[in-house]
Protein backbone atom coordinates (compact mmCIF):
# COMPACT_ATOMS: atom_id res chain seq x y z
CA UNK A 1 0.00 0.00 0.00
CA UNK A 2 1.01 3.58 -0.60
CA UNK A 3 -0.74 6.62 0.84
CA UNK A 4 -2.46 9.68 -0.54
CA UNK A 5 -3.14 12.84 1.44
CA UNK A 6 -6.69 14.15 1.45
CA UNK A 7 -7.47 17.20 3.57
CA UNK A 8 -4.54 16.44 5.84
CA UNK A 9 -5.49 12.79 6.30
CA UNK A 10 -3.39 9.98 4.85
CA UNK A 11 -5.47 7.28 3.14
CA UNK A 12 -4.16 3.93 1.90
CA UNK A 13 -4.11 3.29 -1.83
CA UNK A 14 -2.98 0.15 -3.63
CA UNK A 15 0.43 0.74 -5.16
CA UNK A 16 -0.75 -0.73 -8.46
CA UNK A 17 -3.61 1.79 -8.62
CA UNK A 18 -1.35 4.73 -7.72
CA UNK A 19 1.13 3.59 -10.40
CA UNK A 20 -1.49 3.30 -13.15
CA UNK A 21 -2.86 6.74 -12.31
CA UNK A 22 0.60 8.16 -12.99
CA UNK A 23 0.94 6.09 -16.17
CA UNK A 24 -2.44 7.31 -17.37
CA UNK A 25 -1.56 10.97 -16.88
CA UNK A 26 1.75 10.47 -18.66
CA UNK A 27 -0.04 8.85 -21.58
CA UNK A 28 -2.61 11.65 -21.79
CA UNK A 29 0.27 14.12 -22.20
CA UNK A 30 2.20 11.95 -24.67
CA UNK A 31 1.81 11.74 -28.43
CA UNK A 32 -0.94 9.28 -29.22
CA UNK A 33 -1.61 7.35 -32.39
CA UNK A 34 -3.43 10.19 -34.18
CA UNK A 35 -3.17 13.27 -31.92
CA UNK A 36 -0.08 14.97 -30.48
CA UNK A 37 0.44 15.29 -26.75
CA UNK A 38 -0.59 18.94 -26.88
CA UNK A 39 -3.75 18.03 -28.80
CA UNK A 40 -4.60 15.23 -26.37
CA UNK A 41 -4.31 17.68 -23.49
CA UNK A 42 -6.46 20.15 -25.42
CA UNK A 43 -9.10 17.40 -25.63
CA UNK A 44 -8.75 16.93 -21.86
CA UNK A 45 -9.12 20.66 -21.20
CA UNK A 46 -12.13 20.91 -23.49
CA UNK A 47 -13.77 17.93 -21.80
CA UNK A 48 -13.21 19.38 -18.36
CA UNK A 49 -14.66 22.75 -19.34
CA UNK A 50 -17.82 21.09 -20.64
CA UNK A 51 -18.05 18.96 -17.53
CA UNK A 52 -18.17 22.16 -15.55
CA UNK A 53 -21.32 23.10 -17.48
CA UNK A 54 -19.68 25.79 -19.56
CA UNK A 55 -21.41 25.10 -22.90
CA UNK A 56 -24.83 26.61 -23.54
CA UNK A 57 -25.46 24.50 -26.65
CA UNK A 58 -24.77 21.30 -24.73
CA UNK A 59 -27.17 22.39 -21.99
CA UNK A 60 -29.90 23.01 -24.59
CA UNK A 61 -29.27 19.64 -26.24
CA UNK A 62 -29.20 17.81 -22.94
CA UNK A 63 -32.59 19.25 -22.07
CA UNK A 64 -34.09 18.46 -25.49
CA UNK A 65 -36.11 15.32 -26.24
CA UNK A 66 -34.52 15.31 -29.71
CA UNK A 67 -30.97 16.54 -29.18
CA UNK A 68 -30.03 16.25 -32.85
CA UNK A 69 -32.57 18.92 -33.80
CA UNK A 70 -30.82 21.59 -31.71
CA UNK A 71 -28.30 23.48 -33.82
CA UNK A 72 -25.74 26.00 -32.67
CA UNK A 73 -22.11 26.61 -31.85
CA UNK A 74 -20.32 25.08 -28.89
CA UNK A 75 -18.62 27.26 -26.31
CA UNK A 76 -15.12 25.94 -26.93
CA UNK A 77 -11.88 26.59 -25.10
CA UNK A 78 -9.58 25.09 -27.71
CA UNK A 79 -8.30 25.39 -31.25
CA UNK A 80 -9.32 21.83 -32.06
CA UNK A 81 -11.20 21.23 -35.35
CA UNK A 82 -14.97 21.85 -35.12
CA UNK A 83 -15.83 18.18 -35.64
CA UNK A 84 -13.49 17.21 -32.80
CA UNK A 85 -15.12 19.80 -30.55
CA UNK A 86 -18.56 18.43 -31.49
CA UNK A 87 -17.38 14.89 -30.69
CA UNK A 88 -15.90 15.86 -27.33
CA UNK A 89 -18.99 17.76 -26.25
CA UNK A 90 -21.41 14.95 -27.19
CA UNK A 91 -19.32 12.24 -25.53
CA UNK A 92 -18.97 14.24 -22.32
CA UNK A 93 -22.51 15.56 -21.99
CA UNK A 94 -24.87 13.16 -23.76
CA UNK A 95 -23.05 9.95 -24.62
CA UNK A 96 -26.12 7.80 -24.04
CA UNK A 97 -27.88 9.35 -27.03
CA UNK A 98 -25.02 9.06 -29.51
CA UNK A 99 -26.19 7.47 -32.75
CA UNK A 100 -24.40 5.74 -35.58
CA UNK A 101 -25.81 8.35 -37.95
CA UNK A 102 -24.18 11.15 -35.97
CA UNK A 103 -20.82 9.38 -35.95
CA UNK A 104 -21.01 8.84 -39.71
CA UNK A 105 -21.85 12.52 -40.19
CA UNK A 106 -18.68 13.43 -38.31
CA UNK A 107 -16.34 11.10 -40.16
CA UNK A 108 -17.87 11.68 -43.59
CA UNK A 109 -18.14 15.45 -43.20
CA UNK A 110 -20.87 17.74 -44.42
CA UNK A 111 -21.81 20.55 -42.10
CA UNK A 112 -18.17 20.73 -41.03
CA UNK A 113 -14.90 19.26 -42.31
CA UNK A 114 -14.66 15.53 -41.72
CA UNK A 115 -12.98 14.06 -38.66
CA UNK A 116 -10.97 10.93 -39.34
CA UNK A 117 -12.58 7.89 -37.72
CA UNK A 118 -9.30 7.05 -36.04
CA UNK A 119 -9.16 10.51 -34.47
CA UNK A 120 -12.74 10.15 -33.24
CA UNK A 121 -11.92 6.83 -31.61
CA UNK A 122 -8.83 8.25 -29.94
CA UNK A 123 -10.99 11.05 -28.53
CA UNK A 124 -13.23 8.40 -26.94
CA UNK A 125 -10.20 6.82 -25.32
CA UNK A 126 -8.85 10.11 -23.98
CA UNK A 127 -12.21 11.09 -22.50
CA UNK A 128 -12.72 7.65 -20.94
CA UNK A 129 -9.34 7.77 -19.21
CA UNK A 130 -9.88 11.36 -18.09
CA UNK A 131 -13.32 10.47 -16.72
CA UNK A 132 -11.84 7.66 -14.65
CA UNK A 133 -9.06 9.84 -13.29
CA UNK A 134 -11.26 12.84 -12.49
CA UNK A 135 -14.10 10.79 -11.02
CA UNK A 136 -11.62 9.03 -8.72
CA UNK A 137 -10.43 12.40 -7.47
CA UNK A 138 -13.99 13.64 -7.09
CA UNK A 139 -14.99 10.62 -5.05
CA UNK A 140 -11.96 10.84 -2.80
CA UNK A 141 -12.44 14.56 -2.25
CA UNK A 142 -9.39 15.71 -4.18
CA UNK A 143 -9.46 18.65 -6.61
CA UNK A 144 -8.96 17.87 -10.30
CA UNK A 145 -5.29 17.36 -11.03
CA UNK A 146 -3.54 20.17 -12.87
CA UNK A 147 -2.76 19.32 -16.47
CA UNK A 148 0.82 18.27 -17.11
CA UNK A 149 3.02 19.78 -19.79
CA UNK A 150 2.61 18.11 -23.17
CA UNK A 151 5.34 15.69 -24.17
CA UNK A 152 6.69 16.54 -27.62
CA UNK A 153 6.66 14.09 -30.48
CA UNK A 154 4.62 12.95 -33.42
CA UNK A 155 1.67 10.53 -33.43
CA UNK A 156 2.50 7.10 -34.79
CA UNK A 157 -0.45 7.19 -37.26
CA UNK A 158 -0.75 3.43 -37.68
CA UNK A 159 -4.23 2.19 -38.56
CA UNK A 160 -4.75 -1.56 -38.17
CA UNK A 161 -5.17 -2.98 -41.67
CA UNK A 162 -7.65 -5.57 -40.44
CA UNK A 163 -10.09 -3.16 -38.80
CA UNK A 164 -13.67 -3.41 -40.04
CA UNK A 165 -17.00 -1.75 -39.28
CA UNK A 166 -18.93 -4.90 -38.46
CA UNK A 167 -19.46 -4.81 -34.71
CA UNK A 168 -20.03 -1.28 -33.45
CA UNK A 169 -20.79 2.19 -34.76
CA UNK A 170 -17.06 2.55 -35.43
CA UNK A 171 -14.56 0.22 -37.02
CA UNK A 172 -13.01 -2.29 -34.64
CA UNK A 173 -10.20 -4.80 -34.79
CA UNK A 174 -11.27 -8.39 -34.16
CA UNK A 175 -8.77 -10.60 -32.31
CA UNK A 176 -8.34 -12.78 -35.40
CA UNK A 177 -7.56 -9.70 -37.51
CA UNK A 178 -4.71 -8.34 -35.38
CA UNK A 179 -1.67 -8.03 -37.60
CA UNK A 180 1.95 -8.50 -36.58
CA UNK A 181 2.49 -4.73 -36.71
CA UNK A 182 -0.53 -3.95 -34.46
CA UNK A 183 -0.31 -3.52 -30.69
CA UNK A 184 -2.37 -6.45 -29.35
CA UNK A 185 -4.19 -5.71 -26.09
CA UNK A 186 -6.41 -8.81 -26.13
CA UNK A 187 -4.09 -11.38 -24.50
CA UNK A 188 -3.66 -9.07 -21.51
CA UNK A 189 -7.11 -7.56 -21.13
CA UNK A 190 -9.56 -9.91 -22.87
CA UNK A 191 -11.54 -9.53 -26.06
CA UNK A 192 -15.11 -8.86 -25.05
CA UNK A 193 -16.96 -6.17 -26.97
CA UNK A 194 -16.02 -3.49 -24.45
CA UNK A 195 -12.34 -4.25 -25.08
CA UNK A 196 -12.95 -3.99 -28.82
CA UNK A 197 -14.75 -0.63 -28.61
CA UNK A 198 -11.71 1.56 -29.25
CA UNK A 199 -9.58 -1.13 -30.90
CA UNK A 200 -9.35 0.87 -34.13
CA UNK A 201 -6.65 2.63 -32.08
CA UNK A 202 -5.19 -0.36 -30.22
CA UNK A 203 -3.00 1.72 -27.92
CA UNK A 204 -6.16 3.32 -26.53
CA UNK A 205 -7.32 -0.14 -25.39
CA UNK A 206 -4.13 -0.41 -23.38
CA UNK A 207 -4.44 3.18 -22.16
CA UNK A 208 -7.93 2.65 -20.78
CA UNK A 209 -7.82 -0.89 -19.50
CA UNK A 210 -4.37 -0.66 -17.89
CA UNK A 211 -6.02 1.93 -15.63
CA UNK A 212 -9.45 0.35 -15.47
CA UNK A 213 -8.30 -3.05 -14.21
CA UNK A 214 -6.89 -1.24 -11.18
CA UNK A 215 -9.99 0.89 -10.67
CA UNK A 216 -12.25 -2.17 -11.05
CA UNK A 217 -10.89 -5.69 -11.55
CA UNK A 218 -8.84 -7.66 -14.05
CA UNK A 219 -10.98 -9.66 -16.47
CA UNK A 220 -10.16 -13.02 -14.83
CA UNK A 221 -10.87 -11.61 -11.36
CA UNK A 222 -14.42 -10.50 -12.11
CA UNK A 223 -16.01 -13.94 -11.75
CA UNK A 224 -13.47 -15.42 -9.33
CA UNK A 225 -15.80 -15.46 -6.35
CA UNK A 226 -13.39 -17.61 -4.32
CA UNK A 227 -11.17 -14.62 -3.73
CA UNK A 228 -11.59 -10.98 -2.84
CA UNK A 229 -9.13 -8.71 -4.64
CA UNK A 230 -10.11 -5.43 -3.06
CA UNK A 231 -10.93 -4.03 0.38
CA UNK A 232 -14.59 -4.35 -0.61
CA UNK A 233 -16.30 -7.61 -1.56
CA UNK A 234 -17.41 -8.77 -5.00
CA UNK A 235 -21.02 -8.09 -3.98
CA UNK A 236 -20.18 -4.55 -2.87
CA UNK A 237 -18.21 -3.90 -6.07
CA UNK A 238 -21.05 -5.09 -8.27
CA UNK A 239 -23.63 -3.13 -6.29
CA UNK A 240 -21.59 0.03 -6.85
CA UNK A 241 -21.03 -0.89 -10.50
CA UNK A 242 -24.71 -1.51 -11.16
CA UNK A 243 -25.88 1.68 -9.53
CA UNK A 244 -23.21 3.81 -11.18
CA UNK A 245 -24.04 2.34 -14.60
CA UNK A 246 -27.75 2.93 -14.06
CA UNK A 247 -27.18 6.56 -13.08
CA UNK A 248 -25.03 7.00 -16.19
CA UNK A 249 -27.71 5.40 -18.38
CA UNK A 250 -25.37 2.58 -19.42
CA UNK A 251 -27.14 -0.67 -20.24
CA UNK A 252 -24.24 -2.46 -21.95
Amino acid sequence: MTEIEISGVMLPMRESLAREVEVAWNRLASPGTWWTGAERLAIVAEARAIGAGDCGLCQQRKAALSPYTVAGVHDSTSDLPPAAVEAIHRIVTDAGRITERWILSLIEGGEMPALEETKYVEIIGVIAVLTGLDKLHQGLGLPPRALPAPIPGEPSRQRPAGAKRNLAYVSTLAPEDVGPEDPNPYPLHGDKNIHRGVSLVPQEVFNFFDLDVELYLKDHEIRDFEHDFRAISHAQIELIAGRTSALNGCYY
Binding site: R14, I124, A128, T131, L215, I232, Y252
Partner: protein, 93 residues
Protein backbone atom coordinates in the same frame (compact mmCIF):
# COMPACT_ATOMS: atom_id res chain seq x y z
CA UNK B 1 -30.91 -1.12 -9.11
CA UNK B 2 -33.72 0.52 -7.22
CA UNK B 3 -34.73 -2.58 -5.27
CA UNK B 4 -34.12 -1.89 -1.58
CA UNK B 5 -33.87 -5.62 -1.00
CA UNK B 6 -30.82 -5.84 -3.24
CA UNK B 7 -29.18 -2.97 -1.38
CA UNK B 8 -30.00 -4.42 2.02
CA UNK B 9 -28.64 -7.84 1.09
CA UNK B 10 -25.13 -6.45 0.63
CA UNK B 11 -23.17 -5.41 3.69
CA UNK B 12 -23.10 -1.61 4.00
CA UNK B 13 -25.12 -1.42 0.79
CA UNK B 14 -27.04 1.65 1.82
CA UNK B 15 -24.03 3.80 2.64
CA UNK B 16 -22.28 2.67 -0.54
CA UNK B 17 -25.34 3.60 -2.61
CA UNK B 18 -25.39 6.98 -0.93
CA UNK B 19 -21.74 7.50 -1.86
CA UNK B 20 -22.48 6.60 -5.48
CA UNK B 21 -25.42 9.01 -5.58
CA UNK B 22 -23.59 12.01 -4.17
CA UNK B 23 -20.47 11.46 -6.30
CA UNK B 24 -22.63 11.15 -9.41
CA UNK B 25 -24.75 14.15 -8.48
CA UNK B 26 -21.79 16.28 -7.47
CA UNK B 27 -23.55 17.71 -4.42
CA UNK B 28 -20.62 19.10 -2.46
CA UNK B 29 -22.71 19.61 0.66
CA UNK B 30 -23.55 15.92 0.92
CA UNK B 31 -20.21 14.48 -0.13
CA UNK B 32 -18.40 14.98 3.14
CA UNK B 33 -20.95 13.05 5.17
CA UNK B 34 -21.22 10.30 2.54
CA UNK B 35 -17.44 9.83 2.53
CA UNK B 36 -17.28 9.88 6.31
CA UNK B 37 -19.99 7.21 6.57
CA UNK B 38 -18.05 4.82 4.33
CA UNK B 39 -14.73 5.44 6.07
CA UNK B 40 -16.14 5.06 9.56
CA UNK B 41 -18.12 1.91 8.81
CA UNK B 42 -15.87 0.16 6.30
CA UNK B 43 -12.41 1.65 6.68
CA UNK B 44 -10.17 3.87 4.59
CA UNK B 45 -9.00 1.18 2.15
CA UNK B 46 -12.60 0.21 1.42
CA UNK B 47 -13.46 3.87 0.84
CA UNK B 48 -10.66 4.21 -1.72
CA UNK B 49 -11.71 1.03 -3.52
CA UNK B 50 -15.35 2.13 -3.52
CA UNK B 51 -14.33 5.43 -5.15
CA UNK B 52 -12.20 3.53 -7.68
CA UNK B 53 -15.18 1.37 -8.66
CA UNK B 54 -17.37 4.44 -9.13
CA UNK B 55 -14.63 5.93 -11.31
CA UNK B 56 -14.37 2.78 -13.43
CA UNK B 57 -18.07 2.58 -14.21
CA UNK B 58 -18.35 6.30 -14.83
CA UNK B 59 -15.58 5.97 -17.41
CA UNK B 60 -16.34 2.74 -19.23
CA UNK B 61 -19.73 4.05 -20.36
CA UNK B 62 -17.90 6.56 -22.55
CA UNK B 63 -16.39 3.68 -24.54
CA UNK B 64 -19.65 1.72 -24.71
CA UNK B 65 -21.67 4.73 -25.84
CA UNK B 66 -19.02 6.52 -27.87
CA UNK B 67 -18.20 3.43 -29.95
CA UNK B 68 -21.73 2.00 -29.97
CA UNK B 69 -20.77 -1.52 -29.05
CA UNK B 70 -23.54 -4.14 -28.81
CA UNK B 71 -24.15 -6.54 -25.97
CA UNK B 72 -22.41 -9.91 -26.37
CA UNK B 73 -24.62 -12.85 -27.35
CA UNK B 74 -24.01 -14.72 -24.08
CA UNK B 75 -25.06 -11.68 -22.07
CA UNK B 76 -28.07 -11.09 -24.28
CA UNK B 77 -29.26 -14.65 -23.78
CA UNK B 78 -28.64 -14.65 -20.05
CA UNK B 79 -30.57 -11.42 -19.53
CA UNK B 80 -33.25 -11.73 -22.22
CA UNK B 81 -36.24 -12.15 -19.89
CA UNK B 82 -35.09 -9.46 -17.48
CA UNK B 83 -34.41 -7.02 -20.31
CA UNK B 84 -37.82 -7.63 -21.81
CA UNK B 85 -39.51 -7.11 -18.45
CA UNK B 86 -37.73 -3.78 -17.99
CA UNK B 87 -38.06 -2.73 -21.68
CA UNK B 88 -34.37 -2.00 -21.42
CA UNK B 89 -33.75 -2.75 -25.10
CA UNK B 90 -35.46 0.54 -25.87
CA UNK B 91 -32.27 2.21 -24.71
CA UNK B 92 -29.23 2.43 -26.93
CA UNK B 93 -26.25 1.10 -25.01
Amino acid sequence: MTDDGAVDSVAHGEILMNLVAVVHGGNLGEMASARRAVRENMGDAAFVDACATIASFSAVVKIADGAGIPLEDFKEEATRDLRAELSINDFQS
